[in-house]
Symmetry: C2
Subunit: 367 residues, 2 copies
Amino acid sequence: MTDEPRRRPARSAPTIYDVARVAGVAPSTVSRTFSRPGRVNAETAERVREAAARLGYRTSPPARALSTGRSSMVALVIPDVTNPVYFDITRGAEDAAAEAGYTLLLADFRESGRLEREAIDRAVPAVEGLVLGGPRISDSALRMAAKQRPTVVLNRAVPDIPSVVIDNPRGMRRIAEHLGALGHATLTYLAGPEESWADGMRWRSLREAALELDLRVRRLGPYPPTLAGGLAAADDLRRNPTTAVVAYNDLMAIGLMHELQRLGVSVPREVSIVGFDNIFGSDFCTPPLTTVAAPLRKLGAAGVRRLIGQLGGGPVRTGRPEVLPVQLVVRGSTAQRSRNRSSPARGTTSVSGSAAHASGSTSAGSR
Amino acid sequence: MTDEPRRRPARSAPTIYDVARVAGVAPSTVSRTFSRPGRVNAETAERVREAAARLGYRTSPPARALSTGRSSMVALVIPDVTNPVYFDITRGAEDAAAEAGYTLLLADFRESGRLEREAIDRAVPAVEGLVLGGPRISDSALRMAAKQRPTVVLNRAVPDIPSVVIDNPRGMRRIAEHLGALGHATLTYLAGPEESWADGMRWRSLREAALELDLRVRRLGPYPPTLAGGLAAADDLRRNPTTAVVAYNDLMAIGLMHELQRLGVSVPREVSIVGFDNIFGSDFCTPPLTTVAAPLRKLGAAGVRRLIGQLGGGPVRTGRPEVLPVQLVVRGSTAQRSRNRSSPARGTTSVSGSAAHASGSTSAGSR
DNA sequence: TTGAAAGCGCTAACAG
DNA sequence: CTGTTAGCGCTTTCAA
């Protein structure tokens, strides 16, 4: 009949002291048994372990953290959990963290710099280090964070802070080569958000590659890096037609592709479209999207591994960023440039492309 | 020239004591200022806050957790971060947690029951409560977990454990009505994994709805709940043709749709296909998928809110699960049943459907 | 190899 | 309203 508001869970979990009592040893011995086995007699350890098992003892992370200063947690701070680009990054980070015995704290800041700063602030005291995947805040704000806790940045090169990026230049180079080989002489780049480091990088890389390959490039945008962004670009594009479009990312590419088709423009017959990232869905949109496969999972994993390496006293390689290789995936959204470049004869059903589907089907169901 | 291995971060963070000294008050006053403002003189509080700000004081979560038993963290345990169904659930959970001042611990168990149990075990001591989204473990294993920490289950009704589910029966009912209205007399259900509570629920609901509506139903499977699963189902389906297929989820529906089309079967002309969940991508596959929109974001949020409510001493409503409403989204993958039911005349270009596209375009770019 | 004792930073009771 | 005093559960010296 006790109806007092129980503040702590009814029967609080067994502690090191309970185990010690049952095993007939000192608490410190129990502690040692778990934190540094080898420093304790084998038989004693066995007794302790038994007692612990019988009582269902679990070491308390906060207590350990308080006493050692190590919480065994790292935070992953990303712009948007629902953005497919970050799915795989999250997964990779999770994998790497679990593998190293760390727990992952997830913070999502909804593309807002203010929220990002808040998220970092809240995470900092709770974790040993941070992985910032796609930060939207300034370099100096980043450095502030990095001063508080070991930090690794993804998708962006920041001087003085360890970072991991994908090989944007090579990706763009491959795209330019591919499009060039298909006979496209002018490439239109659909720009993503201006605060995005990757956008600047991709645009510059494309321009350079085009220069070397003797192609012309043009830039439209910026647009939001979403389906809607691509959709919005369709209009601008119709006013300034091209035969080849390189979008900042897959989301935009897919949005554009669908809007163009809705407007009666055939892809890839009239316009070839290339994306970037190889996100979920890029293989089953119609036509399947030619894109650059970024090793997103590896990116997340590399970030966390690097961070945990530092925590363990490893080197803090703050020089040039670690670069992960990319790969061009040719699917159905790109094709040989057609003769009649602008204002193409709509309704003409000269379906040339079997190639359009040949490669697309292979990846279907790969997930 | 000190090269001793620094164990703690060089200059350890300021504590409550530092603030107390600077502000000229007792440590407990500092504590009170932050944990229960109002119980402290306004001016004193101001002095404390100033001192804290000047020193850059941050309260230490582990210390607080140790002393209060409350870590302000909840865990979200899901089968697969890279499964689109869980993106939105995760986002919703994140939102709700942040809103309540809680931090979200993310654990992903890669569809493995063993890993799920491990993930739970690791999370339990660190958090105040658990949200299990789509558990694969047995009811009894679930109850074990729930005994250790307040637990809320998503996507599954478990007796004695608070749970939140979506309205599967209504969803299936809507699908049956829709398909029935289009003239389909027999519906084929593509089953998902047998361990999935939702699969059983959906199949039963479809059967009941069909019964009431005087339609016939048939069940094929089980298949993996993935693109590949749907792809695999295509073969079986060709051996036993129907005009209408209801898949366990969108992923399977999309996989099936694409494989069917690759095999030369026209969707929706020859076969109508319906999915479930309304995941990212279901609006831009071809044709856009008719599906049941599950309020995934709300589901995640509801789970966390409910959990946090309990933590705060709220009621533990363990009776019947909280049910979230669903909505049928009609897009291009379903159409009027064509006259020539089986072995349809391929190559015939009697495109009937303008309806097939009318609704599909509206949702394009909605993300 | 083990035990005893002193904290980690914070909160919560109890006096004043 | 504020100061004092015990701990929370664990790790870590320091002796034994």
